[in-house]
């Protein structure tokens, strides 16, 4: 999946150790902001939101010995751009045991861009239960929002131009950990 590092128009924004530090920081912020992550569920948005959610749960466990339930929420069937592309394969939706009713749900995704994915996720969430509140954690916020949506936890803000693309690679999916900005003008 990862494009060759020799690509002249690409720039590595986060390397492996930077990415790990950023995940650690978000885990700490979640603990702080939710007073110990009680009644909290992490839901990753496929593809890369799912391993990120699992990592956050693992770090929270390592720091405070708290087990936060983790699940995944596929949003493909709720997208507003289905008709603009060829049909997409579906991802997995797996809610942790006990569901999400009355709990604080933290949606986890790799990149926050237009906000449309999060809008779809909120719709999808509505159909699987009624959480007491919903928060959003993203590894990268690259700006250019098209909807009134913001993240509660941001790993890194990356100023981009709309023409550029942010590529998050995670070991679980891509075999390495890094965040790369491609298509940048030199």
């Amino acid at each position: 999946m990862a494009s060759p590092r020799a690509d002249t128009t690409s720039k590595i924004i986060l390397g492996e150790s930077d990415l790990h530090r950023v995940v650690d920081r978000i885990a700490h912020q979640i603990l702080e902001k939710t007073s110990g992550a009680t009644g909290t569920v992490l839901l990753g948005i496929p593809t890369r939101g799912v391993p990120l959610a699992q990592r956050l749960a693992a770090r929270i466990h390592a720091f405070e010995d708290i087990d936060v339930p983790v699940g995944s929420l596929d949003i493909t069937l709720y997208r507003d751009d289905l008709r603009l592309h060829a049909t997409r394969a579906l991802g997995k939706t797996e809610l942790p045991g006990g569901g999400i009713d009355g709990r604080r749900v933290i949606l986890v995704d790799d990149v926050l861009f237009s906000g449309r994915t999060v809008r779809a996720a909120l719709d999808a969430l509505n159909d699987v239960g009624r959480p007491s509140s919903v928060q959003l954690a993203v590894l990268v916020d690259r700006g250019h929002r098209e909807l009134p949506i913001r993240a509660d936890y941001v790993g890194k803000n990356i100023p981009t131009s709309p023409a550029e693309s942010v590529r998050v690679s995670l070991t679980e999916v891509d075999g390495l950990d890094e965040v790369k900005l491609t298509g940048a003008e030199k």
């Binding site: 069937l77 709720y78 289905l82 008709r83 049909t87 579906l90 239960g129």
Partner: protein
């Protein structure tokens, strides 16, 4: 993705597997409190049924409604068809109404192929004459895969009235594509030897059910379609069920893990005894539930993306 689903032969292994995987996700969604999804909002699906059907029509209707498509049900009885309107004129009417998909069941083999040349939308074959019934094959394959964990290498016996069975034809094509081994079993008068070979050269034929059973993972019993039989294909119903009906004694010849399938509607006491149909090995009710998931997958993959 393909545009129409007229034959199980339209599907290569990758596409068929994608449909089965998608059906799996759809089945997981069926357990939720809110079963409806917004995916096909604003799309119109016409169920065009020239032949009687309960489960297939209801199944397609439920599938389309769960995906929020608008559903128009058309049955030949009580429509202009009884006034003599041709399939082409009906098709042009549907075209003018802007149908995004037409699900057609027709007594004439090949009707979906003709229809697809007259309408812009997707055409889904819900059973045409004695030709094909591809969504039934998909739900059967899905049921086998979810019960037995795989399709490649499975040994499947399709038993009974193969000659008149569109379910059998579609299953032979799809199962072979997905790597299963099909054996057709029935009286010589109801097994079209050459047709089976033409569909898939690897298909085996046997006239002796008892000798086949111990080796099978799946036994699919077909309905004896008396309404399509103009001649006598076997001496009597009693003799048929004695030689080719699945009763408890025959079921015990199957391996421990093997499952019993039937596309419905059943002639209880003819091709299958009630004890077998209601046993834990029988997947007959499961097949109906899986039918909705499989048809949701087909509708999503055909209509969900860019037209």
């Amino acid at each position: 993705m393909i545009k129409h689903l007229r034959s199980a032969g339209d599907l290569d292994a990758a596409t068929a597997t994608l449909i089965l995987d998608t059906a799996g996700e759809m089945a997981a969604l069926a357990g939720r409190e809110v079963k409806k999804l917004p995916t096909l909002r604003g799309r119109t699906v016409v169920n065009l049924f020239y032949e009687d059907s309960t489960r297939t029509r209801i199944s397609f209707e439920a599938a389309a409604k769960r995906l929020s498509a608008d559903v128009i049900n058309f049955s030949a009885k009580g429509s202009s068809v009884s006034k003599g309107e041709s399939l082409k004129d009906t098709a042009l009417t549907l075209q003018a109404m802007g149908a995004d998909a037409v699900v057609i069941r027709h007594s004439a083999s090949g009707a979906p192929h003709r229809l697809s040349s007259w309408v812009d939308g997707s055409v889904i074959n819900a059973g045409d004459g004695t030709h094909e019934h591809p969504t039934q094959a998909l739900l059967d394959a899905y049921t086998m895969r979810s019960r037995l964990g795989r399709l490649a290498g499975l040994k499947v016996a399709i038993v009974g009235d193969v000659l008149h069975s569109r379910v059998a034809r579609s299953n032979i094509l799809l199962l072979t594509t997905l790597g299963a081994h099909v054996t057709l079993v029935g009286p010589p008068t109801l097994i079209p030897n050459d047709v089976a070979a033409a569909l898939s050269p690897a298909t085996k034929v046997s006239y002796d059910l008892d000798s086949v059973l111990p080796d099978m993972d799946v036994v699919m019993m077909l309905r004896v379609q008396t309404e399509r039989m103009q001649d006598s294909y076997f001496p009597s119903a009693r003799e048929y069920s004695r030689r080719y009906g699945l009763d408890l004694a025959r079921m015990r010849r199957l391996p421990e893990h093997a499952i019993v399938m039937h596309p419905g509607p059943m002639n209880r006491g003819m091709e299958i005894t009630p004890e077998v149909a209601d046993s834990s090995r029988s997947t007959i009710v499961e097949q109906v539930a899986n039918g909705v998931s499989a048809r949701m997958a087909v509708l999503y993959l055909l209509l969900g993306g860019k037209a």
